[in-house]
């Protein structure tokens, strides 16, 4: 027989104005198994809580129902009070007779009856409640940062400077990301590499940071505080300890005509190469797809010229396993290849380039040493057209969203062009100018007013080549939509920023959700912008949505603080309201039949396979098992299980069944 206590709160007059609290306490006090019932003005006040605690002790209560406000408000309060009185906190439930009753119904008998019903439901539920213990998990105080662009660099440095270990994984041979490709940055026009390179070096030299370049994350297992990660270090065909980075091999490599990815195809590189002069680490890798030795079986010029004998043609990929407590995703973005716009002729006409290519043309370290030269014949373009929204805000052919950074970089491009080609005429076709940001609007105005860039409000319909000119056909919507044609020497398409190639696969590997554009999804768009729905995994930079440099850096520092906050605990405690698969004595072991249809519904990969073996070590049954560290308690598996082998604490089959019975059968 249960000994349950019912405590009905008046909440001042919030409840008692429409609900007869005394009556509720009296009637529910007569329910079977209710040992004690009372009503009180303010249950959550100190005297109210004291009343609760004393009643627990005095009446040896083994269950408590507090009929008051929403459990979302005060459940923790009353559970804590119960615990202080020696009652397991999970034997306390709340009936919501304020938000769901007194506030929404008029003062009449029905309202009081409803309150009684709600209390009765909880009394019956509590009878089926079980004493539970909180789950404690230890925290590994090492962070994994995936991606070595500006966001990853910032996050890694911030975490490392808090005194925690950081492992950074970068896919490319060098860290630096897209920012290292940029010429000058808006709105201050400071040189991108000048501000970025010192940070890259700091990462390489920081005692708390371990850097894995040319590496990718392959497997992520575990949960907050306790992730196990496998990193594939792709073979660089090089002994990094021996290599001094002298670069002799890169000058002697006979393969010289491989399109340079860093230069966006505007320059060439050898098969053994350092992506760019300021690379970190400044050591080459062999691109096996283009290396003569790997293609034809002979060459080895690099091996012959290497003064330290560091080349290793037979080097294999290496798998590194690490344990980390938190993960920061900073994998950045990609630019949408504009070839889906056949009417713009990208790829067909050499002088139609994208924004990132223009950055390389404008960069002092780029293929033209910063001179604006068109790719087809190396001539200086005298008339140049910038096309904004080339892919953005275009549900038909591109992407639906605004890429956010293009307005600013296009204005910057026009300005840089004008600074370098004084007698040139830049045109910008745009739809709206979105320049919200510190000193952004002023910057755009300068481009228009001081540098005389012609801004035309309209979209370009088509671009074609005729007599060595690019005919750009657009319309001026501010003139009522009249068509205009510009004979340009070069066209720059402000292509959209999109999720990185492989973002979807990485999200699945890491188990974070992503939006329909394959950008990683934050836990809450406003209040949890750097958290993901998976505890312990955070977001930094443009892997979440297009972001400019200041925003990426801010998000990275935000993510770093979240990691540091997590690492300030030695262990984590969580509510034990998790699912579990029943266990029974042999030979049944469990009523689970191992169909594992529950596995794919679990958003947290918390359902594992457990093999039951006999004495000879043979597997005789395979059962589902819930990893309580991973389970977040949604209960979707419970609803799906045909044999009712899975159940969930706090919302068990017995509990909800009893609730319905109690609610409908008065």
């Amino acid at each position: 027989m249960s000994r349950i206590g019912v405590f009905v709160c008046h909440c001042g007059e919030n409840i008692s104005a429409t609900v007869n609290c005394e009556k509720v306490a009296k009637i529910t006090g007569e329910l079977k198994g209710v040992e004690f019932s009372t009503d009180y003005k303010y249950m959550c006040s100190d005297p109210g809580q004291t009343l609760l605690k004393e009643a627990i002790k005095e009446h040896k209560l083994d269950g408590v129902v507090v009929a008051a406000c929403s459990p979302r408000m005060h459940e923790p309060t009353f559970r804590k009070a119960c615990a202080e009185a020696g009652l397991n906190p999970f034997l306390c439930e709340m009936s919501n007779i304020r938000e769901h009753c007194s506030w929404v119904h008029p003062k009449d008998d029905l309202t009081t009856e409803k309150a009684q019903d709600l209390v009765r439901v909880m009394v019956e539920k509590v009878k089926k409640n079980k004493a539970l213990n909180s789950i404690k998990v230890p925290v590994t105080k090492t962070a994994l940062v995936i991606g070595g662009g500006i966001a990853g660099i910032q996050a890694a440095l911030d975490i490392a400077n808090c005194g925690h270990k950081v492992i950074m994984v970068e896919k490319q041979p060098s860290i630096g990301g897209h920012m290292s490709q940029l010429s000058e940055t808006f709105p201050t026009l400071d040189c991108s590499q000048c501000i970025l390179t010192p940070r890259m070096v700091e990462v390489a030299q920081h005692p708390n940071i371990t850097l894995h370049t040319y590496s990718e994350v392959e497997v992520v297992d575990g949960f907050i505080g306790n992730f196990k990660v496998k990193i594939r270090k792709k073979s660089k065909s090089l002994d990094e300890h021996l290599c001094t980075g002298c670069g002799l091999c890169t000058t002697k490599c006979p393969q010289k005509k491989i399109p340079n990815e860093f230069e966006r195809g505007l320059g060439f590189r050898p098969a053994i190469y350092v992506p760019f002069p300021q690379a970190v680490p400044n050591k080459p890798v062999i691109d096996r797809e283009n290396c003569t030795y790997y293609i034809k079986g002979k060459c080895k010029v690099c091996e012959i010229v290497c003064p330290t004998k560091a080349i290793r043609f037979d080097q294999e990929d290496e798998i590194v396993e690490v344990a980390v407590g938190a993960i920061v995703l900073a994998t950045g973005f990609d630019v949408l290849q504009p070839d889906f716009f056949p009417e713009y002729g990208y790829g067909k006409y050499k002088d139609v380039i994208d924004g990132l290519q223009f950055e390389r043309l404008a960069s002092a370290s780029g293929p033209t040493q910063g001179q604006i030269r068109r790719p087809s014949d190396g001539k200086e373009p005298k008339k140049i057209v910038f096309v904004a929204c080339a892919g953005s805000r275009d549900p038909a052919k591109g992407i639906e969203y605004c890429s956010k950074i293009c307005c600013m970089y296009t204005a910057k491009h026009a300005m840089l062009y004008k600074h370098k080609v004084h007698d040139g005429t830049p045109y910008v076709f745009y739809m709206d100018i979105r320049a919200g940001g510190k000193m952004y609007e002023e910057f755009v105005r300068r481009t228009i007013v001081e540098d005389g860039t012609h801004y035309v409000r309209g979209r370009v319909s088509t671009i074609y080549e005729k007599n060595g000119k690019l005919i750009v056909r657009g319309a001026d919507t501010l003139m009522g939509g009249i068509p205009i044609e510009i004979e340009a020497d070069m066209v720059v398409l402000a292509t959209a920023g999109v999720a990185n190639k492989g973002a979807e696969e990485l999200a699945q590997t890491v188990h974070v959700s992503y939006d329909s554009y394959k950008f990683f999804a934050e836990a809450h768009p406003k209040l949890k912008p750097v958290e993901t729905n998976t505890a312990g995994i955070f977001l930094a930079g443009a892997c979440q949505a297009p972001k400019d440099i200041p925003e990426s850096v801010a998000a990275a520092s935000g993510a770093a603080v979240k990691v540091a906050a997590l690492f300030s605990n030695d262990e984590l405690t969580r509510d034990p309201l998790v699912a579990l698969v029943n266990r029974q004595p042999a030979p049944v072991f469990s009523t689970c039949v191992g169909c594992f249809l529950c596995q794919s519904v679990c958003p947290y990969q918390a359902i594992e396979r457990e093999e039951i073996k006999n004495r000879n070590g043979e597997v005789i049954k395979t059962l589902a098992r819930v990893n309580e560290g991973l389970c977040q308690g949604c209960g979707t598996c419970v609803a799906l299980c045909r044999t009712k082998a899975i159940d969930i604490h706090g919302y068990s089959n017995q509990q909800v069944y009893t609730e319905i019975m109690a609610l409908l059968n008065d």
Partner: protein, 305 residues
């Protein structure tokens, strides 16, 4: 091999040579074109400009007649008719109640089971495989393939070729031994049905097209639409007046180009019916490329199997 055939009105009149050349070409490849009995006009621009129901009903009747005859594929060489038939088929498929209403207007059962093929799809489905082996007189000219509007647009319904810079006709011309040039006006509008009512507009639009073709050294413009043909060919005096130039390159139907390549004579193909004289310069016959040999071997193997 039997294929349903919808010539459309213009091929019975102003574009007779198109029908003549399509029929002759089909004959070379042993394809029997079965004209849909008692077909009517598709309604063209006039119908959809003035009345939506009419613009749906006229093409629906054509397709219903074909269904009644058990015809599964209809080749519609006129790009305008092809466009109308395809769009109507699409709209009726998307809206069943509309389909029922139209069926009651035309008083025929309509299921939408027939496949509508434009001239290029028809050639690709029934001829292309055997084309190269039949080429005896390579069409050795620089050709500007002009697709116009109705063959490729709207892409969401027609789903034919690339909507910008289409290639299918270029490929055929190349297979016929020609040199399909890259140019900018492949899919620009010629002025379409305004030929009579707004001749000035047609002269300007068609003029721009001809100008670009000639500027890029085209010796011939290849089309697949009677309307495009009449604008570029019959309206040549107006075009030349607009451009203040004398452009005299001929406009050929794709069926005529292929016909010439497989050795049909000018008269059979109706070249004499063009308003702009077809006076292609005589060129020395090229040797048939060596690359064709292995292909033949493959074909014989197929036959044996």
């Amino acid at each position: 091999m039997k294929v349903g055939f919808y010539p459309g009105c213009s091929m019975k009149g102003g574009a007779r040579e198109y029908q003549e050349s399509v029929s002759a070409l089909a004959k070379v490849f042993d394809i029997e074109l079965v004209e849909i009995p008692d077909w009517n006009c598709c309604g063209a621009t006039a119908a959809h400009n003035l009345n939506k129901e009419l613009s749906l009903s006229l093409p629906a009747r054509i397709m219903a007649l074909a269904e009644r005859e058990g015809i599964s594929d209809i080749v519609v060489p006129c790009a305008a008719c092809y466009n109308r038939l395809s769009i109507v088929k699409h709209e009726l498929e998307a809206d069943k109640s509309l389909s029922t209403r139209v069926a009651s207007i035309i008083d025929l059962k309509y299921e939408g089971t027939t496949q509508i093929l434009n001239i290029i799809q028809f050639i690709d489905k029934y001829i292309t495989d055997r084309l190269e082996e039949k080429v005896v007189k390579p069409f050795d000219y620089k050709a500007a393939c002009y697709y116009g509007c109705l063959l490729v647009r709207p892409h969401s319904i027609l789903k034919f070729d690339r909507v910008e810079d289409p290639q299918s006709m270029d490929v055929l011309v190349k297979k016929a031994g020609g040199d399909a040039i890259d140019w900018a006006y492949k899919t620009e509008c010629c002025g379409a049905g305004m030929s009579v009512s707004r001749t000035d507009t047609v002269a300007r639009l068609s003029g721009n097209i001809m100008k670009d073709a000639v500027d890029r050294a085209a010796e011939v413009v290849v089309v697949a639409c009677p309307m495009c043909h009449s604008n570029l060919d019959m309206r040549r005096p107006e075009i030349n007046k607009f451009l203040n130039e004398k452009i005299d390159i001929p406009i050929l139907y794709i069926s005529q180009v292929l016909g010439l390549a497989v050795g049909l004579d000018a008269k059979t193909l109706g070249l004499n019916r063009h308003m702009t004289e077809v006076n292609l310069p005589v060129k020395p016959v090229r040797e048939i490329p060596v690359a064709k040999e292995p292909k033949k071997v493959v074909n014989t193997q197929k036959l044996e199997a």
